[in-house]
Symmetry: C2
Subunit: 149 residues, 2 copies
């Protein structure tokens, strides 16, 4: 069931879009709502199908457009694994991703500042990095008592 955005989330959406001269539209609001509802790193198709439940006329191209817009605004991150469909993540805190080989599910893994620092430190002089992507592949046993939920 898709809840509406909280006042806070709506403002966040509104302001982030405004910064790049763009507006809140019903489609953007629906797509953003879907992303915040289940932070399970959905693919475009998954977002599309979820959003259509509440906005039947929504088109796939619009979902692509909205997600691209959000990435441009810094509202969400793309998450890629090999050449599978791109997934989308509204968690803006620095974090790595863990892909469960068995379920295919993607989990967020908190990334402490000192680990980021130790990673940056392996770069030879002259290498200036503005983004680091870290992904684990393996199995996540047991329940879901982790940051994703």
């Amino acid at each position: 069931m898709i809840q509406n955005l909280t006042e806070h989330d709506r403002e966040n959406l509104q302001e982030s879009l405004a910064k790049s001269g763009q507006k809140v539209t019903p489609q953007r609001e629906a797509v953003f709502t879907v992303l915040l509802a289940d932070r399970d790193h959905p693919t475009v198709d998954e977002v599309f199908n979820r959003a259509r439940e509440v906005m039947p006329g929504l088109s796939l191209a619009t979902v692509y457009n909205c997600l691209e817009t959000f990435v441009g605004c810094g509202l969400v991150r793309q998450v890629n694994h090999e050449r599978e469909s791109t997934r989308y993540c509204p968690n803006l805190a620095p974090h790595a991703h863990f892909r469960d080989k068995e379920t295919g599910r993607v989990h967020d893994i908190e990334l402490p500042a000192d680990v980021i620092k130790s990673l940056r430190s392996i770069l030879p002089p002259g290498f200036d990095s503005e983004a680091i992507e870290i992904s684990f592949l393996g199995r996540a046993q047991g329940g879901d008592a982790h940051p994703t939920l």
Copy 2:
């Protein structure tokens, strides 16, 4: 100019293939030679074009087949960045990748054991990782005095 494989590299190829019941073929040897000649993380098309110089009848499908075989044998790694074409890397040492935003080139970054350890340590209990991928995005100024060359 594409050199032949060293005796050592040929044996490595032969034995790795043999382990999974496969043989050295002229096509596989050509593709492997190309991978070892310039460790610049070529795409399939780049491998194809380089290999054709020495084996004009080679087909693109065969390059895909050979590379898939090598990945299966553990002879090479795939390197992906977002949804760009997959690149191939014959460096089997644990290493991260640095993508230069300006040139598009991919550089190998040595990955010390203690950094790997500190990364594993951020996984919550129950998360068992068998592979970690790390990629930096940024600019690599200056010469090429780094592990790639």
